[in-house]
Symmetry: C2
Subunit: 219 residues, 2 copies
């Protein structure tokens, strides 16, 4: 009984996710679903990537949090539309929440929407939001051994940003070993090594993202 | 409909949790439910606390993971009974899983069972396992701002171990500020500052735990 209900929840989520995808595609709005454990650096990444991307593209943010609007407050300085979703304890964003947030955005005047998911390395893997790409931010402080332990998040991501690489040596993390395990699970993922607090380490990622948005807009 | 089903899941979980509590109490086995985000240091804590606690008490471990038995393998050297639970993608341990694990342990010959939950700072908060105390391990690398963002995990814990304090300065974390926010949410929680990789920083925690187990055995 429980399993059947959960399956229905998933089928419904995926249907709404597909509607979101169609709607975003109709308006040529590129979308990213950014996931990670708590405190792995999603908001810091957004702060610094937005500075670059919003020079060229009209961006918006959908911000997911259990209760507070702390992340949203950190992002208000960028002067882009920002929709806060509070899940009231819920462990992930779902497609219906995103559908509601899209109602609040002027999609005709947007090129890209960044969705920051709830900090959780398990549950968001199961919920398609309708995004173009899934971006997993993984902090080296979480250890070398997590890709296989938290497989669905690693195998489902299109891009994996290995963050806080400046802490790798103090945390005794072998970045090559970590990256090799990620590739074993997900050979197709695009991987970048970054320190989200250091904007210069984001250049390759920002350039790649810029190109993706450009190609999408032309397609 | 979905909410009703979820409520039933919770009621059932709490009933089984109470059964677990009664069963552990009958055998005078003290139990800890150890939670955290992925990579915050639960297993390292266990490795080093077990060395101390198992000198005096007969300990066992119940190890929760999505898929692998990597954490369990790290703990086999301690020569204590160890039950691995793989949730197959599930985001938390529940009371029924623990009930099954207790069937595999010789409760008459145990004093304490350490339950290591799945790495997740959201979902485990909702599932009583029947434990005596909930222990939240929080890594400073996750930031100062998480207690209010992930409130249920912080408000529900009996003990909060602030871990990786050796990384506080490099991560620009003000430990007093972090601790003040925790106390605002949960004034009753016992708080210890530790570096789980450095056994000497665990002395106060281990001594406190030793006393708790001793009092419980006498009660």
């Amino acid at each position: 009984m429980q399993i059947k209900v959960l399956k229905n929840v998933m089928i419904k989520n995926d249907a709404i996710g597909n509607d979101n995808r169609g709607r975003l595609n109709h308006h040529k709005v590129y979308s990213l679903n950014i996931t990670s454990s708590p405190g792995a650096g999603k908001t810091t990444l957004l702060e610094n990537s937005l500075k670059q991307i919003s020079k060229k593209y009209r961006a918006a943010i959908i911000e997911g949090d259990l209760y507070t609007s702390r992340d949203a407050e950190r992002l208000t300085g960028h002067n882009v539309p920002l929709i806060q979703i509070n899940t009231e304890g819920g462990c992930h964003l779902d497609a219906r929440m995103i559908s509601g947030a899209l109602n609040e955005l002027d999609l005709n005047n947007l090129d890209v929407v960044f969705i920051e998911n709830v900090g959780n390395l398990v549950c968001p893997a199961s919920f398609d939001l309708g995004e173009n790409i899934g971006v997993l931010v993984y902090s080296v402080t979480e250890g070398e051994d997590k890709p296989k332990k938290y497989m669905p998040m690693f195998s489902g991501a299109d891009v994996i940003l290995i963050n806080k690489v400046d802490l790798a040596s103090v945390c005794k993390i072998d970045l090559d070993k970590l990256e090799a395990e990620i590739k074993e699970i997900n050979p197709k993922a695009k991987i970048f090594r970054i320190s989200a607090t250091e904007p210069k380490t984001l250049t390759k990622w920002n350039t790649w993202l810029d190109e993706q948005i450009g190609e999408y807009k032309k397609s």
